[in-house]
Amino acid sequence: MSSIILKIENLSKQYRLGLIGTGTLSDDLKRWWYKLLKKPDPFLKVGAVNIRHQKSDSNYVWALRDINIEVKEGEVLGIIGKNGAGKSTLLKILSRITMPTTGVVKTRGRIASLLEVGTGFHSELTGRENIYLNGAILGMTKSEIKQKEADIIEFSGCQNYIDTPVKRYSSGMRVRLAFAVAAFLEPDILVIDEVLAVGDAEFQKKAIGKMQDISRGQGRTVLFVSHNMASVKSLCTRALVLEHGEVVYNGSTDDAVSFYLKGGADLLNHRKFGNAINKEVFHLHQISVKNTNRLVDDAIVEDAEIEIKTFLNFKAPNPEDYHITYHIFNEMGDPMFSFSSTKAPLKQGENIMSCYFPKGFLQSGQYFLSFFFIKDKRKAICIEKDIISFVVADGTRDIGVYMGKEPGYIRPQFEWHNAND
């Protein structure tokens, strides 16, 4: 029904590894020679897929490879992927900052990009002067800015300081002002890169609301790159996942987010150990972390109970002398707390030990578990560090509420009472 406003066909971008920019003369000459013979560029073939931790034989690498995307008018497309997956490269090509190596982008509308807020802000200029300069850099004309000036100032909440040089602003005010200019930009297609990761909670709320207006209310097409799954989930109508420069998933936002969260080799929320941990007294079969009543392949979300299951065979005759302890670490590697199976005694033979974290207890983030097998409540006879890791994703939040990360790692659901009830 709605027409395609942006079409990306076979888009690829190649980078040279190592000393980028010096560009060897011999490579240049070879290219030129092949061109003369009307052969394809020799270096375009040898590029390897962009996998950071795997050293490739080639000096050239594909940051993007054969990307095909169609965006319909009024769609809000989320683009997610790990660092180095090619998100920024894609946005840079769409914003005409860099050129693709092959392929083509066709657009029916004007694209404005917000890869950063406050591009070109000059600290010696006043807030008002910077509104004009920044607006013009983003592609507005002077008369357009003049029309919106009052709205921009009001939205930024910097009325008092508007004729003060920006160098006297706090960093928060600077961002507010910059975002305010960007928010009143009216292109056909808006390209946004994680600019919402700034500012305080109140302002984030305002910014998300504004984005909502832009996409839903005004029917504008938006391409949105973010690491914040909560805002992707609430804003986007469709999402795609980039991995190593290729589109690996393209579909509904929820599916894309869970695809992204469970992807990646370094995330293991369920492991079978085979004979790897087979000790004298016990044999550890498997450990899994998931939401209760969901599959291990589903993404773990913060607003549901989390279940940690340990499967093991106890071989010695004195199971009451032993228990399991886990230490849980956050993504920074800081220990958070430990928990033990002392309340559920082990039995001889097969054991399936389950532990439950209440809903909302763990905040979104990545966690690591270390496994300890304890004898006589004091001696660890087996220690397996970082045996399991898992990611807890944001639950779906209502539009207009805070989308950023709350402080800390746990959010216990305490009881609250109002004495006047």
């Binding site: 980078y15 980028i20 920019g21 560009g23 840079k92 090509i93 769409l94 914003s95 005409r96 900052i97 860099t98 050129m99 693709p100 190596t101 092959t102 392929g103 083509v104 982008v105 066709k106 657009t107 029916r108 509308g109 004007r110 990009s113 890869l115 950063e116 591009t119 070109g120 000059h122 010696e124 200029l125 002067e129 004009y132 300069l133 013009a136 850099i137 983003l138 592609g139 004309t141 002077k142 040089p165």
Partner: protein, 287 residues
Amino acid sequence: MSISTNNKWLYTISSNRKFIDFNFEEIWKYRDLMFLFVKRNVITVYKQTILGPLWYLIQPLFTALTFTIIFNKVANIETGQVPSFLFNLAGISVWTYFKSCLTGTSNTFASNAGMFSKVYFPRIIIPLSVVITNLFKFGIQLLIFIGFYIYYYVNGAQIHVNGLIILFPVLVVIMGLFGLGIGMLISSMVTKYKDLKFLIGFGVQLLMYLSAVMYPLSLMREKLPRFAWLVEYNPMAYVVETARFMLLSDGTMSWYGLLYTCVITLIVLFFGILIFNATEKKFIDTV
């Protein structure tokens, strides 16, 4: 980027580009941005300085004074009927304009890398805004020149403006474009060969001595005929000499030399835009 001839799409982004991609329509669309850059350049340079815009005046005045003492009083260079201070001031104002156009545009990519990596606009807006900013400064310096001109005239100096002064704006445009052309060439090459950065500073200094700024062209021919060609092949020498002829009726005016300057300017500008266009497309990947 090229505007697609297929009216189905507004424009397309691909690696193919035209040989020379000078989209005047697009530059015109961004004219507001150009003037906002000019405004920024003018008002931010001397912010938080005590003398502020007075620096626009102090620089040429003291240079002219120094030149007068060294070259005219100590080294006895003759400037004929024209007071040597006025002679130097004319040369320096003109030369400064050219020099600031050249050096100002020559670091376009290096000093705007941050902005260029975040947002698109026709990159040529930046060097154009530098040239216009310098035009503004040149205007101020011309006003001082007129002030001193009147002062000397009232005090009975034998000076008069030449009728060809009506062509002075053309001369200013040529100078601006010549500086722009070289500046764009250098700015593009600096992104790949950083050594050039060091060359510009003293290269421009040396070029001044070959541009007949502190001596009349005739003097060079008379005293050093063997090396006069160095000056005669320098397009800027004709510009400086012609400017002095227009302002002070001093020296000679060579239509042939001026034509030569025009041709060189056009060639330099052509290649400047060509290389600038090529660089703006890939510089973000190589910076």
